[in-house]
């Protein structure tokens, strides 16, 4: 029983990590229908920029956090401007391949600059965030990530559902020419969505870094884990991303705990194939409407 509970807690925390990682992905997909294969690298960039500011330049934590957010926000703009904008209106495969290409570029750059070693942040979260509950001890990172996750979920959920800007963003993903004809600033929407997504990725990346340390290879693998998560939850659904993340996380740790550790790595993908066959649009995704 103790083992079970321990696995459950561990699974939930891993799941939260996945959910956090998936948030930025859903952001981009929701506002521009781009399937971003460079997602893991975006996470890594955020984490490394923070590392550079906080450990190498020895800036205070809060300042480096702020600078990281500003930096990644700007980077999102630049990425969109340089790479994605020329492709507005191009075929799906070209956009997908572009993000694959970007992934390789970013990963290469990160490896050149930072190398493939494991880095750790200094411990800066207040120890008071620890939650003790009987035998269970939840470290502050998880508590922090939980809080941040909830904040994200509510902000973005509200943003997309009720705010005008959110609705404009969704309209662009839905039907670009029509959005243009109504005066929606399509280019600005794209740029904004990449910028916000990069920012979200940076925050998620930093949390991941606190939990597991940062290593380029690990994070880029994690970026691909996002796919089962978002497919399970539904590509457009932020709530779905959180639930999908938790389910996949629990599934992974339980497989690792009870079945085998090597199966753990692929179980999300096996689940993914089954979900796609049974419920192609995930738990909360939008069913494609086709009018012929």
């Amino acid at each position: 029983m103790e083992f079970f509970l321990q696995l459950l807690i561990q699974g939930l925390s891993v799941g939260f990590l996945y959910a956090l990682a998936a948030l930025g992905f859903v952001m981009i997909f929701k506002s521009s229908s781009v399937l971003n294969f460079a997602h893991g690298e975006l996470l890594a960039i955020g984490a490394f920029i923070f590392l550079a500011f906080s450990v190498w330049l020895k800036l205070p934590i809060y300042l480096s956090f702020l600078l990281t957010l500003v930096g990644t926000f700007a980077m999102g703009f630049v990425i969109e401007r340089l790479f994605l904008r020329p492709l507005i209106g191009e075929a799906l495969i070209e956009v997908i391949m572009l993000t694959v290409g970007l992934a390789a570029m970013f990963k290469g750059l990160l490896l050149v600059i930072f190398g493939g070693n494991l880095f750790n942040y200094p411990d800066f979260l207040p120890a008071g965030l620890t939650i003790k509950w009987g035998a269970i001890n939840i470290p502050p990172v998880y508590v922090a990530s939980f809080i941040i996750g909830i904040i994200f979920l509510s902000i973005f959920g509200f943003f997309f559902k009720y705010s005008s800007q959110g609705i404009y963003m969704r309209s662009v993903a839905d039907n670009q020419p029509a959005a243009l004809s109504l005066g929606v600033h399509v280019r600005r929407v794209f740029a904004m969505s990449w910028a916000i997504a990069a920012l979200v990725c940076a925050i998620s990346g930093i949390i991941l870094g606190i939990m597991n340390g940062i290593n380029v290879h690990d994070i880029s693998v994690l970026g691909l884990k996002v796919f089962p998560v978002v497919i399970l939850g539904g590509l457009e659904s932020i709530g779905g991303a959180i639930i999908g993340g938790l389910i996949i996380g629990i599934l992974e740790t339980f497989t690792g705990g009870y079945v085998s550790t090597s199966l753990k790595e692929v179980i999300p993908y096996i689940v993914l194939v089954f979900i796609l066959l049974v419920k192609p649009y995930g738990l909360f995704g939008l069913v494609e409407i086709e009018r012929v």
Binding site: G101, K107, S262
Partner: protein, 356 residues
């Protein structure tokens, strides 16, 4: 004898048969023969061992890339699992050769067939899935197969890998780069010929119809699911065949090479070469293989210089960077790929000095 067509001044087809011809002029046909003669009678004798080694790899990659182009470029089903299929072919050939004792030719062909079956299994989600959902399903396929390579130890021997016996054909030992060169390129020519002709048949037309508009294709009475699976099967056959050849050529296999990165390399080949173009797949294979070779050679070069070894280690990941850059560059600036560049150069020559 029919009149030879040498120099067209434009494409003015008067009959449907003309639309279907491979070479619009006899000049083109002549060039093909010149190419084949060069390929078999000149190249193997003027190239060094190292060059032959690279060229052989190009041939193998080209076979697999042609297969992937049939699936992505012609049928429009994006697959991220081609690298794993290539691996399935390699493992199938190795296992058949060592456990069952199949001869070289039979195990390579069976490798193709087995991979085709595996491809069909992983193509099954295409019944219900389209576009990016299918892409993600094939991504899952890649990881599942990769897992099997490592973990199904009773069959694949896990990370330790399998040594293959020396290949022999019709009583001759196939050893050395030059002999393999002939084997690989005979296969290459045959498979290219099959692919080019496949596209001209009803199958090819059905593939293209599905790519352009699957609903309309279905409305025209094309059983799209059947054809999608067929496309998966053919494409995986090419991958498996190439994988089998590669396994024999290298002599031993381990699970490492058949990762997502390999799948990405293959997609890069057909995008850089040109989607929906058989010559494009070949150009892409040449480009990527040579690029890979240049990048690893240059790292080696720096490694051997005293004092620069450290720099070499740090710039090793640049390989990945250059790779990504090449993909991004082509998608943004020449989305139709090298095949289009080639066409422009050719017509530039033909129309010279009057460019219109």
């Amino acid at each position: 004898m029919r009149k030879l067509k040498l120099h067209p001044c434009g494409k003015f087809n008067e009959q449907y048969e003309e639309e279907l011809t491979i070479f619009s002029t006899d000049f083109g046909r002549l060039w093909m023969w010149v190419g084949i003669v060069l390929l078999f009678a000149v190249v193997p004798f003027i190239s060094s061992h190292y060059h032959l080694y690279v060229i052989n790899h190009i041939g193998i990659a080209a076979i697999a890339a042609i297969g992937l182009n049939i699936l992505i470029g012609y049928t429009g089903q994006i697959s991220l699992g081609h690298g794993a299929f290539f691996g399935v072919g390699a493992y199938a050939a190795a296992i058949l050769a060592t456990r069952v004792g199949f001869p070289f030719w039979l195990s390579v062909i069976s490798a193709g067939v087995i991979t085709a079956l595996v491809g069909v299994v992983f193509g099954l989600p295409s019944v219900r899935l389209k576009h990016l959902y299918l892409t993600i399903a094939t991504l899952a396929g890649q990881f599942i197969l990769q897992y099997l390579f490592v973990s199904w130890e009773s069959l694949t021997k896990g990370p330790e890998g399998i040594m293959l016996p020396r290949a022999s054909l019709l009583g001759f030992d196939i050893k050395g780069d030059r002999t393999f060169y002939y084997v690989i390129f005979v296969c290459f020519v045959i498979l290219t010929w099959v692919a080019v002709n496949l596209i001209r048949t009803r199958f090819g037309r059905a593939f293209i119809a599905i790519r352009d508009n699957d609903r309309a294709a279905e409305g025209m009475g094309i059983p799209i699911f059947k054809y999608k699976l067929l496309s998966f099967a053919i494409s995986s056959f090419y991958a498996g065949f190439a994988g089998g050849l590669a396994a024999y050529y290298i002599g031993s296999i381990t699970p490492e090479p058949y990762t997502l990165m390999l799948s990405v390399e293959y997609i890069a080949m057909i995008i850089i070469g040109g989607l929906g173009s058989i010559p494009g797949a070949v150009f892409g294979a040449i480009f990527i293989t040579v690029l890979n070779e240049i990048l690893s050679q240059s790292t080696q070069f720096f490694m051997n210089i005293e004092g620069l070894a450290k720099i070499a280690l740090t710039i090793a990941p640049l390989r990945e960077f250059v790779f990504g850059l090449a993909i991004v560059f082509f998608i943004i600036f020449e989305p139709k790929g090298l095949a289009e560049v080639w066409r422009i150069i050719r017509s530039g020559f033909r129309l010279w000095p009057f460019s219109y």
